[in-house]
Subunit: 381 residues, 2 copies
């Protein structure tokens, strides 16, 4: 595998050049659901060609305009309940702390949101099955940086704040979030609790993915992996940032007290999707992905296909590549007598979590993980 070009100091990214996907430096191969802010997902057939998602097919989810960044001037601070307030340039971070890489899947809490619209319209980006990707991330571990800062007793959470500016009515604020400090207890030699990532798939992060630095939180919804990271705050409570205190929560009525009673969404649930169907002689080859619940040590136990609306199920064949906090690809060869048929897909993970037949509607359209039910007519076979 190619050496990681660790230095990012020479790169400068202006906000301007990121406004138009046509001149996006990543030459993204995405279907854009919105352009300002930029939100795009890959074509599903391409998404399941590779266990490691090539960067051009990796979904983009932003809540505001990308910030202008001059890499060698960009600073990350470590503040709050720490013994030593710290400020690092990206180059200092990379030089001072052990370099660390991991492969894990990032998935948006709004994945498959459009399926809720069948019941009742939901708000938010109309994501289909594509806002999910599995990449190799490299950088330094949050735990090493916090050790250098020294965590005070009674600290319980770590906040992250981006350099972006999100405009919401009259207010302007950065994207942010937090994780419980105990998330760091589940790290081991191959997987950080939280990575401060400067690189994706062996290249410096693209602007749309948070250049020059972002968090990667294995097992958590994508919203907890904050891009353009400029501030780390150790605290005794979760971040009050809008994107963790108010939204990205499973609420149904949306009253203030329901929001305050409800924990932020952290882990993503088991999920799966059928992404391509190709005729092979008299059979059809199905391909898709399956994601175990975002727990350490949790893997996909089985993916099952039904051609009769769930009356009977047959096992799909799982791909060989898997890992903690990673998706797994699958294939199945089936006979399709009737092109009016729906294909149903469900996955079960090693913790016993299974995709349910239906899920309750929620107004923000989060965490849709019912059986993936796709009319065969969606594919040209």
């Amino acid at each position: 595998m190619a050496a990681i070009p660790w230095s990012v100091a020479s790169r400068t990214v202006s906000a301007m050049m990121q406004e138009d996907p046509a001149i996006d430096p990543g030459k993204m191969d995405l279907i854009y659901r919105s352009k300002a802010p930029r939100n795009g997902e890959p074509k599903l057939k391409k998404l399941v060609e590779n266990w490691i998602t090539p960067t051009p097919q990796f979904y983009i989810r932003s809540h505001g305009t990308n910030p202008a960044v001059v890499a060698d001037e960009f600073k990350v601070s470590v503040e709050g309940m720490v013994e030593n307030l710290l400020v690092f340039s990206i180059q200092e971070l990379i030089e001072k702390f052990p370099k660390s890489s991991c492969t894990c899947t990032v998935s948006c809490a709004g994945i498959r949101r459009y399926e809720f619209n069948k019941v009742k319209e939901v708000k938010g980006v109309a994501w289909q099955e594509g806002p999910i990707g599995n990449a190799k991330w490299s950088g330094v571990r949050l735990s090493d940086v916090l050790k250098a800062a020294g965590i005070k007793a009674d600290a319980k959470h770590v906040w992250f704040e981006g350099a972006d500016e999100i405009v919401d009515g009259k207010a302007t604020f950065p994207f942010g979030g937090s994780v419980p400090l105990s998330k760091l207890l589940e790290e081991d030699s191959s997987m950080p609790g939280v990575l401060l990532a400067t690189h994706m798939n062996n290249e410096p992060l693209l602007p749309d993915h948070g250049f020059p630095i972002r968090t990667i939180v294995p097992g958590y919804i994508g919203a907890r992996s904050v891009k353009w990271l400029r501030k780390i705050v150790v605290s005794d409570k979760p971040s009050p940032n809008h994107f963790i205190a108010d939204v990205y929560k499973m609420v149904y009525s949306g009253t203030p007290v329901e929001i305050d009673e409800t924990a932020p969404i952290y882990r993503y649930p088991v999920n799966a999707a059928l992404c391509s169907a190709e005729r092979q002689d008299d059979k059809v080859l199905l391909k898709g992905y399956a994601l175990p619940t975002g727990h350490k040590g949790c893997s996909i136990s089985r993916v099952e296909i039904s051609m009769d609306n769930g009356k009977s199920w047959t096992a799909a064949t799982l791909g060989n590549e898997a890992g903690d906090f990673c998706w797994q690809l699958w294939t199945a060869t089936v006979t399709i007598a009737n092109t009016e048929t729906d294909v149903c897909v469900r996955a079960t993970d090693s913790f016993g979590n299974s995709m349910p037949e239906t899920v309750p509607w929620n107004p923000k359209g989060y965490l849709y993980n019912a059986w993936h039910r796709v009319p065969v007519s969606r594919f040209e076979i």
Copy 2:
């Protein structure tokens, strides 16, 4: 209805006299699941005789020994993110603030816990269907007291701390908990968000129920209604007390990070139980209770009975007495051909919540609300 004897100043309760249920001043009519601490639930047949539960049949749930209390020396403080630190005697509280009464149901998070043992043994008091009761509570509203104290901006939660001392290994600490400040937004003229109750069913609280003062939090599990209340703290985060930060949470693996990721249990879920069966000629009269999910405006829509393991259901008759955050009693007249039969009961509330056929096992045995399935042989008919 009798006038409430508001003065409590003359009452003194020693810890000693509360140690033995035989000399319990309330002459409780309970089945004790443990005596130190004291945990008792009523006989089910008596429980459903009255919509307002008489105090002798009201369940007792304590985590430690009752504190010794001299009522006219007892003080409640209001601290934390307030403009004015306040300290009140009980008499001052009653004189200074508008008196307020409400009727609501209090239900333990461990109700029906023993049914989990059919799957796998759970920890905690082996509660059956009895730790639930509906009483008239009187006192003053937390919202009025907090108005007098003045709440600082950024405050989000209100902590409560009892005067009891719970011994857990080498540590000794009071029972405590908190509610989001926004809970107070749902109060109206007939129902407080949180009541600081000095009286239960028109009498001063009995020692086992928190004399001289406790919180009553309509719609929340009993653990949020803190007895022997001596400290109110306004804060920007939930209480760090063991009973809200660590336990009374729906966790499955119990890892530190799972506990930190999970919100405290606040509202109780929809539930129901069959409590008595009496032969009437060739029929059998069933009686029970049903509790809607603890939301304002949520009521019981229907209670259904099945004599064939859920294949067919018939509607029970709901009692006339109901109210926000209150249970409802029900009756059904059925034919029981075979005394080997199981009776199944399920309730549905006006928010669309229904008791499921089964619920996932959790190691603490909280919130069991699957169909209530009772062998007819349990009753002498």
